[in-house]
């Protein structure tokens, strides 16, 4: 009797282990920024990849930064397999050795046969990261609050002509650049001005002029909500989030592309991922021509492959909205646009964060 029990125990243990390990090998955890953006990735990347490979993707949200990745890697317990990060974090994480190196030769060629290296937009493949979208930080305003609509970055800082509270991100990144553009610095000179002490002082002086009217936000989902609640009448916002509020919820918001700051979001793999092969497979799949084009029909973030741009369709729930027109990369949107300078921020963010925090509490 005892023997039989033992046998059953052992065999069920073996079965359990087998079932568990096989399930674990195919489970990857993909971490992104949540909300409408993660939704677009689930629809365009996760679901097709799961259907194709039979693997499972567990989707998790975070609010950016390298802290969790660093903690996991240093503790030797990496539970995230793929993470969607900003460019400056991708570079810094790679520099500090907490990310896996991604060999660019594994990236597939475009549908039309163009090699991946030529197909991807310049600057979107890095030692440890592959970019999937171009996104933008720009101004949105409540159209019901103004009879004449604001049109420029300078208008955002003009409380006399356009009264009302302003929403801004609680971070010096992009806010200082916008302050300078609002003060009349053309986009292509912004980082030259910012590399001097006087330029930084000028940016803070411009922020001083509206400081009392600013509501600061931290998570990307906040600014559309602030606008909808009437807490602010104009806000700095990420273009995908605000588009969804307009297109899906019919909110009366207008956008100002003047002075927009665009940046890349990239996929990285934390060093020591337990499912490295599956993670690499996911990254190569997700940054393929079709998935990149598909995600753009859920949220207007520009795909990083040229071959995908031609395939961008209409909004998933409204065929009358042509998604290409709402990308940060249209000619109209690029008229006075600035690309985030990751190197400037890698060099100066510690110092500027301190100054920004000191300025905030004054």
């Amino acid at each position: 009797m005892k023997k039989i029990i033992n046998k059953t125990l052992i065999s069920s243990a073996v079965i359990a282990t087998l079932a568990f390990s096989s399930a674990q090998a195919d489970d990857i955890t993909v971490v992104s920024w949540g909300g409408a953006y993660t939704k677009s990735q689930v629809e365009a990347y996760h679901k097709p990849w799961m259907a194709q490979t039979g693997n499972t993707v567990v989707s998790e949200d975070y609010s950016g930064g390298l802290a969790e990745i660093k903690a996991q890697v240093e503790a030797g317990n990496v539970t995230w397999d793929v993470v969607d990060v900003e460019l400056s974090d991708a570079i810094r994480g790679c520099d500090e050795g907490i990310l896996e190196v991604i060999d660019p030769s594994i990236l597939p060629a475009a549908d039309d046969g163009t090699a991946a290296a030529d197909d991807f937009l310049p600057g979107s493949i890095h030692e440890c990261a592959v970019a999937n979208i171009i996104w933008s930080t720009l101004i949105a305003f409540d159209t019901t609050k103004y009879s004449t609509a604001p049109t420029t970055m300078a208008d955002f800082f003009d409380l006399d002509k356009f009264p009302g509270k302003r929403g801004m991100r609680k971070s010096p990144k992009a806010m200082l650049e916008m302050a300078l553009m609002g003060d009349g610095v053309p986009a292509n000179e912004v980082y030259d001005v910012m590399s001097t002490e006087a330029g930084i002082a000028r940016a803070f002086a411009k922020l001083d002029t509206i400081k009392d009217s600013v509501v600061w936000w931290e998570a990307g989902a906040q600014p559309p909500q602030l606008l909808a609640d009437g807490e602010v009448s104009m806000t700095i916002v990420w273009n995908g989030r605000i588009f969804n509020a307009i297109a899906s919820e019919g909110q009366p918001f207008g956008l100002i592309w003047d002075g927009q700051i665009y940046d890349l979001d990239l996929f990285v793999i934390p060093k020591g991922s337990k499912n490295l092969d599956a993670a690499l497979d996911f990254v190569t799949f997700a940054t393929g021509t079709q998935p990149l084009a598909d995600q753009a029909s859920w949220i207007p973030y520009g795909p990083t492959r040229q071959s995908s741009i031609a395939k961008i369709g209409t909004f998933h729930s409204d065929a009358s909205i042509n998604m290409v027109d709402h990308m940060p990369t249209t000619a109209a949107a690029m008229k006075n646009a600035l690309q985030n300078d990751f190197e400037f921020w890698a060099d100066n963010q510690d110092q500027l964060n301190e100054r920004f925090n000191a300025w905030l509490t004054k």
């Binding site: 660093k70 600061w216 100054r355 905030l360």
Partner: protein, 419 residues
């Protein structure tokens, strides 16, 4: 006393010795029972705090990345630029380090470390490292050709300081000081001073919260202690119910109540006390932090006060009154001194909890309601400058210990009573 007179046990050992042995064994066994707690304390308290103290003064990101150079630069006299030989070692170490991808030993780690003390120098290291393999003799000249910032003696002085594993640099930063270009410690520019002011603010806000808690809790605790059991129990449940509710729920409830479009403002507008444009900002600022934290910490004041008041016989006050003392005088001379231990315990508890409070200020503090713990969290979670976070944490710990010491001097820790 000779051996012969000693009472011996069966096996010939003196009884006294044998007894001592057995009791020692028993004591050791009893001690063994506390072992789990001791291990727990070591693992969860002594070790992490020791680790924190250590990492606030220890950072080996330079000597781990460019070991040979670190040894060489420490010997440098700091005059002008280092010698050609040191330049050569640096270039070769940098080229070797570029190939390393081990965590904590990459050029990026070193660049981040130097950048703390010399903002703007990070990319100088990462970009030079990319070219280091190709740099040849004369090294000094060619390195400066790669980037003329290498001709600035300050960068070499900074590297010399950072090459030492044990460094006061993070305390320098945590105290709003900095190194100037000659390596002397000076006050940081006013635009960059945040920590000292925040420490002072944290102490002030915590003191105010404690004071409000005393004023609110004292009458409630008194009422609790004198009411008949049935009503007292009901009141007690009303005190404890919020105490049992999740911290997050209570904090978010305050957001719903206090925000500009919230319940209180809506009511005031409805009743015509304020106009719709004149809504009062009561949250996302220091006021919000104070209101929410008083609410959360109030039970920590009420409970010790109550448990002490409960033990004070009502006859004392009656006796004082019957002997002709005015109520206020009797209260001051008879009742108050007896509640002091509870008051002391509550004050200490609330103040120390408030000084390190993190989640509530983070949620409702806005900009000016942030406390020192939020800055520590910022360095642990966002800027990843763990050493600076550790230095700030150590300073916070020191403040608490000093307060504890002062408290012991003034009131006496033996007076402390939680019930």
């Amino acid at each position: 006393m000779s051996t012969a007179e000693l009472t011996l046990t069966e096996d010939g050992i003196p009884l006294k010795e044998k007894l001592a042995k057995t009791t020692a064994l028993q004591r050791r066994r009893a001690l063994l029972l506390t072992l789990p707690l001791v291990i727990f304390l070591v693992v969860s308290f002594v070790f992490p705090i020791g680790q924190m103290l250590f990492s606030s003064v220890h950072n080996d990101k330079v000597s781990a990345v460019v070991p040979t150079f670190a040894e060489a630069i420490i010997q440098w006299d700091g005059e002008g630029l280092p010698s050609e030989q040191i330049f050569e070692i640096f270039v070769k170490d940098l080229a070797a380090a570029k190939k390393v991808r081990e965590i904590g030993r990459t050029v990026g780690n070193m660049a981040t470390r130097i950048n703390y003390e010399m903002p703007g120098s990070r990319s100088l290291f990462t970009s030079t490292a990319r070219k280091a393999k190709k740099i040849e003799a004369p090294y000094k000249e060619n390195l400066i050709k790669v980037n003329k910032k290498w001709a600035n003696p300050t960068i070499w002085l900074t590297m010399q300081r950072a090459a030492r594993d044990i460094t006061p640099a993070f305390y320098v930063a945590a105290l709003d000081l900095k190194y100037d270009e000659n390596g002397d410690i000076v006050r940081a520019d006013e635009l960059y001073q945040i920590y000292l002011n925040n420490f002072i603010k944290t102490l002030g806000v915590s003191a105010l919260i404690t004071l409000i808690c005393v004023v609110l809790a004292y009458p409630v605790a008194y009422l609790l202690s004198v009411l008949p059991l049935r009503q007292a129990n009901l009141l007690m449940i009303m005190v404890l119910l919020p105490f049992w509710t999740s911290l997050l729920v209570r904090t978010t409830a305050w957001i719903a109540i206090l925000q500009t479009e919230g319940v209180i403002n809506d009511m005031l507008v409805f009743m015509g006390f304020i106009s719709d444009d004149g809504r009062i900002q009561m949250i996302y600022n220091q006021t919000g932090t104070i209101i929410a934290m008083v609410h959360i910490l109030l039970p920590f004041m009420i409970l010790p006060l109550y448990s002490v008041m409960k033990t004070i016989p009502p006859t004392y006050m009656r006796a004082a009154l019957s002997m002709g003392a005015k109520p206020l005088y009797a209260y001051r001379k008879v009742y108050l001194p007896q509640t002091l231990p509870g008051l002391a315990a509550g004050t200490l508890l609330v103040f120390i909890l408030a000084i390190g409070y993190y989640i509530t200020p983070a949620l409702v503090g806005g900009e000016d309601g942030l406390l020192i713990s939020n800055l520590i969290a910022y360095h642990i979670q966002k800027s990843l400058n763990w050493s600076l976070g550790a230095a700030l944490g150590t300073l916070l710990l020191a403040v608490v210990l000093i307060l504890y010491w002062l408290y012991n001097k003034l009131i006496g820790i033996d007076k402390l009573r939680f019930g």
